[in-house]
């Protein structure tokens, strides 16, 4: 893993909202073909970190490297242009539109003035087939008639439709039942197997250990550790999340004291 150049790398990024420093000197490496889990307690800075990566809240300072080259991302469109897509927790789907329309929302294909429905439908089907999605009856179904897992699938398929390289998933299974969680986790795994870099935020440790290749843990705005998943146990992750340290992993005690102040 370490011999590969990370597709996305953050070095010492900081972000403050007024007097509150939300991210402190955070380093993160994300690799193609790997699932990176981002864990941390509420308020640890997970959302701010992904919003920074997506360009919604640009970082105040620090380096943002994409494919080894420094880039400056200050709005979502720039992140999209690089191939970074975010699937937010609320999915941002339009219930009154069908699956194809949702996948192409804001980026419709047209021939002149007229929407090119045929090309869009074909590409949507190809993308879904590429992800081995077999749970949708028709791509012309309205999203309002879909289950939670199917909606998540549509949102993820939309994110990978644009030859994306990095897909960020914000708690994709939080609202799902057992069978649907299973479907989505399989899909997440397949994204990485297809060569994409995946960042997944999750509060479910079993899920994190099952699906991810490495785990990045945030503790009060600091990156406590980024460790290969196979070196971690359930209780070690919990310890990292709650105290910022576990054995010899995690933050240096001085930093911890500083963080606690």
């Amino acid at each position: 893993m370490s011999d590969q150049t990370p597709i996305l790398q953050l070095r010492g990024v900081n972000k403050s909202f007024g007097p509150v420093q939300v991210l402190k000197n955070v380093d993160l490496k994300v690799y193609s073909g790997k699932v990176t889990a981002l864990v941390g307690d509420n308020g640890a800075g997970k959302s701010t970190l992904i919003k920074g990566i997506a360009g919604i809240y640009p970082f105040d300072s620090g380096e943002y490297l994409f494919e080894g080259k420094p880039v400056h991302i200050s709005e979502p469109r720039q992140a999209n242009a690089l191939g970074i897509e975010v699937v937010y927790q609320d999915l941002a789907l339009c219930d009154n539109l069908d699956v194809v329309h949702n996948m192409f929302l804001g980026r419709e294909q047209s021939k002149g003035l007229i929407l090119d429905e045929i090309t869009m439908e074909r590409r949507a089907k190809e993308t879904l087939a590429g992800l081995s999605v077999r749970t949708l009856k028709s791509v012309r179904q309205q999203v309002s008639s879909l289950s939670g897992g199917q909606r998540q699938t549509v949102a993820i398929a939309r994110a990978v439709l644009w030859n994306s390289k990095v897909v960020i998933l914000d708690e994709p299974t939080a609202a799902l039942g057992v069978a649907q969680t299973e479907q989505v986790l399989n899909l997440v795994r397949r994204l990485a197997d297809n060569g994409l870099a995946v960042i997944i935020i999750s509060h479910n440790m079993n899920e994190v250990l099952r699906v991810s290749d490495n785990v990045a843990c945030l503790y009060l705005g600091n990156l406590a550790a980024q460790v290969p998943a196979e070196h971690l146990t359930h209780s070690q992750i919990v310890e990292l999340i709650t105290t910022g340290r576990s054995g010899d992993m995690g933050l240096h005690p001085d930093v911890l004291n500083g963080a606690a102040l």
Binding site: C94, D95, L115, R134, T135, Q142, S144, N186
Partner: protein, 433 residues
């Protein structure tokens, strides 16, 4: 990955089922809450049947059918504009007086200033665009609820109209072409030509869409469904054209009919022949086709549905929500301006009551009765036509049955309420699915 029990394969490409399948699919969607225009179509049939039974000799006549269209035209056009605003989940209460104000501008420029009619017409339509732009700006940029902005505009425009026309005045419209729109009919052959263009145009465009889908290997609707749709359109629209092409004047024995209206060499006291499709029908058809095209076939239309369905999702997808809102209010007031011109043409004049009274409520009622949701995100331009016909049938048929205007108000109010309930219930159903 293990194949899940719940997995359903994507249907094979090509011809999917026949009419039976299409009907089953439709009934499933209706039960799921996507009722669309179905209640309005059923209501229309029921109302026509009811009035025909109660007052057949006055209601179900060729003359009254033409009258009914004449009464409904302005409301239908207003409702078409309102569909765009309702799709966003907004409302425009000022559309009636936007129509009136535009008509007032038409009257003043045409009659008092002596402009040629195309210029006066342009001025009236531009008035609509300006009104819509200002309303849209206040709603989209300042974030004032559209209900309040347009209520203010409702009062304000009423005043503007009075100021333009002058207190208590009525301005006659003196332009043969503008008056012809609501008062003259197409020649009989013109009606059939229109029928042919509409039916064959629809058949060709829909067939082309089906074939190009099949060529690519995507599921398209079955040939039998296509034939059924084309035949129903041909029969339905053919029936309308046939009814409108009947001579509407009742000729008493001993009276002659004039061959050509307005010919000096006609026998004295002859009864003019009135027959043919009113030009207003052509106006509605053109607006219907343009509106349907914009909403259904362009990315702009798609974005309108997206903003109405989930504005936040639309914003994140890079759609300029405020641009969509402003433009929809402009379309609504623009259509209102057209409606204003139509009302002026029908009344041969503009007065401070043009576009007032129940005009707006009828138009909102028409859109909602036709199946456009008050909650946004659901609706089509044809809803305005179907709903407008329902409103026109009630407004036309009820006075034939009862003279009491009290009952007429109550019934119209109840119909609107029923339509809004259907909308609310179907919304509950779709969100529960």
């Amino acid at each position: 990955m293990s194949v899940q029990v719940t997995d359903v394969d994507v249907p094979e490409a090509g011809d999917v089922g026949g009419i039976g399948d299409a009907l089953r699919d439709y009934s499933r969607r209706v039960r799921g809450g996507e009722v669309g225009s179905l209640p309005a179509v059923l209501g229309l049939i029921a109302l026509v049947a009811l009035f025909s039974i109660l007052q057949g000799d006055t209601f179900f006549t060729a003359l009254n059918f033409a009258n009914l269209l004449n009464q409904g035209t302005a409301i239908i056009v207003l409702a078409m504009g309102l569909v765009f605003v309702l799709l966003l989940g907004e409302i425009d209460l000022s559309a009636g007086f936007a129509a009136g104000t535009s008509a007032a501008v038409l009257g003043v420029t045409l009659t008092k200033q002596g402009w040629v009619w195309p210029l006066a017409l342009l001025a009236a339509l531009a008035t609509g665009l300006v009104i819509g732009f200002l309303i849209g700006l206040l709603v989209a940029r300042l974030g004032i609820p559209s209900f309040v902005v347009t209520l203010a505009a409702f009062l304000g425009l009423q005043g503007v109209m009075l100021l333009i026309i002058g207190e208590g005045g009525t301005i006659p419209i003196q332009s043969d072409i503008l008056l012809a729109v609501m008062n003259k009919n197409m020649p009989v052959w013109g009606g059939w030509l229109l029928w042919a263009i509409v039916v064959f145009g629809y058949a060709a465009i829909s067939l082309r869409a089906i074939l190009s889908r099949r060529r690519i290997g995507l599921a398209g609707s079955a040939t039998s469904v296509w034939i059924a749709k084309v035949v129903s359109l041909a029969v339905l629209f053919g029936g309308v054209v046939y009814l409108l092409n009947i001579q509407r004047q009742i000729v008493r024995p001993g009276r002659q009919t004039c061959d050509v209206v307005g010919d000096i060499n006609q026998p004295v006291g002859c009864i003019p022949i009135i027959q043919g499709v009113p030009w207003a029908v052509l106006v509605i058809l053109v607006l219907l086709i343009i509106g349907t095209f914009i909403l259904g076939r362009t990315s702009y239309g798609r974005h309108i549905y997206a903003v109405g369905g989930n504005a936040e999702a639309a914003r994140r997808a890079g759609i300029s929500v405020s641009m969509i809102k402003i433009s929809c209010f402009m379309i609504c007031s623009f259509m209102a301006a057209i409606a204003g011109v139509l009302i002026a043409s029908r009344d041969n004049s503009v007065s401070p009551t043009t576009g007032g009274a129940q005009t707006l409520l009828f138009a909102v009622g028409a859109a909602v009765i036709g199946g456009t949701s008050l909650f946004g995100g659901r609706g089509r331009v044809i809803d305005a036509v179907i709903g407008g016909l329902v409103v026109a049938v009630i407004a036309n048929g009820l006075p034939l049955v009862t003279q009491q205007s009290g009952i007429q108000y109550v019934v119209t109010g109840l119909v609107l309420l029923v339509a809004a309930s259907v909308d609310a219930i179907s919304r509950k159903r779709t969100s529960a699915a």
